[in-house]
Subunit: 305 residues, 2 copies
Amino acid sequence: MGGRALVQWEQNRRNAPEGVEADLYAGGSAPRDLAGIGFYQLPYMPSMAAVSDEHLEIIPRMPDLRVLQLVSAGYEHVLPYLPDGVTLCNGRGLHDASTAEHALGLILAAQRDLPRWALDQREHRWAAVPQRSLADQRVVIVGYGSIGRAIEARLLPFETEVVRVASRPRPDEGVHGVAELDGLLPGADVVVLVTPLTESTRGLFGASRFALLRDDALVVNVGRGALLDTDALLAQKGRVRAALDVTDPEPLPPGHPLWDAPGVYITPHVGGGSAAFHPRARAFVDAQLARWAAGEPLANVVREG
Amino acid sequence: MGGRALVQWEQNRRNAPEGVEADLYAGGSAPRDLAGIGFYQLPYMPSMAAVSDEHLEIIPRMPDLRVLQLVSAGYEHVLPYLPDGVTLCNGRGLHDASTAEHALGLILAAQRDLPRWALDQREHRWAAVPQRSLADQRVVIVGYGSIGRAIEARLLPFETEVVRVASRPRPDEGVHGVAELDGLLPGADVVVLVTPLTESTRGLFGASRFALLRDDALVVNVGRGALLDTDALLAQKGRVRAALDVTDPEPLPPGHPLWDAPGVYITPHVGGGSAAFHPRARAFVDAQLARWAAGEPLANVVREG
C-alpha cells in the first residue's frame, strides 16, 4: 500500500514511512489537489461549533481514498460522507487517559470540596470544614470499556472498592450487566457514568435510580449529558450530589437552574481533550500510517471498506 | 499488662481487650478519677485553636501512666508534658491516605483548571479552554517517607513519571538525596513538598529553586507552610504555579497578596483530617490496646519510657 496521505500534525508528516507522501491539512481551506490521496486523517477540532464542515465535504473529491482515519471515538457524524470502499477507523482509546484523569478530578473535587476552596480563596476566607474522602468508598462504574478500565486503574490506589457494570454481564471479568444496576445502587458511594449514549442508555439515570442511592452519594457523568435526567437531579435538592462534565442541555445556558443546584459541580465538557490526548493521537497516527504502508491490518476499524 | 485506659472513640471502648477497662474521654473536662490509668490516647482535635490544653495538663495527674498514645504524626507539643517512664507512641501513617488523596486533588485541580470551573459555574459561564494534563508529567516528590510513597502509588496509574527525593539518598530504593534536588528541578513538571519541617528544611523552596523550574511548572505543598518561601513564590507572578494546602503565614490572613497571586490555588490545611483518617485511627488504637494488653511491643514508639 502507501501513496499520498493528508495528516493534521507535523510529527506525522515528518515520520511518514517509506512509500507515503504526507501533506499537512489542519482544516479550513482544502488543498487544491486531492487526487491520489489514499489516507485521510480527518482534522480534530476541539471546538466543532467554530468551524465549517469543509474538512468533511472534501471527502467525495478524493477519488483514490482508501482509509478515513478519525482521532475521535464517535464516528456517526462522518457516516453520511463515507464513500463505499473506504475503510473507516476511529480514535478509540486516544481520549482514555484524559477522560479518566478528569473523572478522578471530578470525584476528588466533590469529595474534598475543591470548588468551595476556590470560592473561599476569591473572598480571602480560610475556613476548614470536615472533609469527606475518596478512601473507603465503593465506586460503581457504569460503562466498563476502555475508559472505564482507565478510571478503575486510577481509583484503586485510593483504597476504594470498584464495582464494574456494562450493558451485558461478563462474569469472567467480574462485570455486572446493567440489568443488575438497581441492586447495586443502594451500596454505592459514587456512581460514574461513562457508557455510550444510545437509545437504551438515554435517561439511564433518572428519578427511580436516584431514589435508590444513599443520602450524600455522588453521581459523576463523563459520558454524555443525556445519560442523566436533569430534572431528576434537580429534584434531589442536594440529597444526592453530582459532578458533571457533560450536561443536558449542553452547553448549559445561563440562567439554567442546574448551575446553582446544591451539591452540583459542573465543568464544560473538558474531559477528553486535555494535553494528554495529543501525544497519544500523534503516536497512533504514526503507527496507523506505518501499518497502511506495510499493508498490515489497520487498528480501530469501525467499518471495512 | 493491661489496666485502665482512656480512649476517645466508642469503638475502642467497646473493643477493649480482656484485662483492659476503657473509659471515654474526648477532651474538655477531665474524668475525676485518673488513678490506675495506664494507657492514655490523647484526644484528637482537628481545630486545636478552639480547645484548651486541659487534655495535656491532666497527664501529670496520672501516676500509673505507662503509654501516651497520639493519633497525630507530630509529637513535639507533647514532650513538655511527658513524665519519665512513659512510652510515647505517635500516629504516623494514619493521615497518609487522607493527605495523599488531597495532594492528588491539588495536582488535578491545578492541571485541569478545577478552580476556574467553580468560579465559572457561579457566573453561569460555559467556556472550555485548552487543558493541561497530569499524564506524561514528571513529578518530583520531596520527602519520600510514608506519605510520599502513598502519593506515588496514586500518581503512577495516571501515566506519570515519579522522581523520589529524601533528606538522604537511598540508592537501593531509587531515592535521591536532597543535595541532588537542584539538578532534578529543571526536568520537573510538578514538585510535591511533603517533607517534615526542620531547621534544615525551613525555606527549602526559595528563589534559587524556583528559578530552576520550567515556565508553567507546578509546586504543591502538603507538608508545612514554611517549607516554601512565600515571597519567592509571589515574585514568580504566575511563571511557576502553586497549589498549597499549607501556607506561611498560616492561617493566611485576609488581604494577604498570596490569595490573589496568579496561578496559585489555596486550600485551608485540610489534607490530613478527612473522613479517611477516622477508621484508620480507630483501627490503630484497637490494635495498639491489644498489643498493650498482651504485653507485646507497641507500634509507632517515638520515645521509650
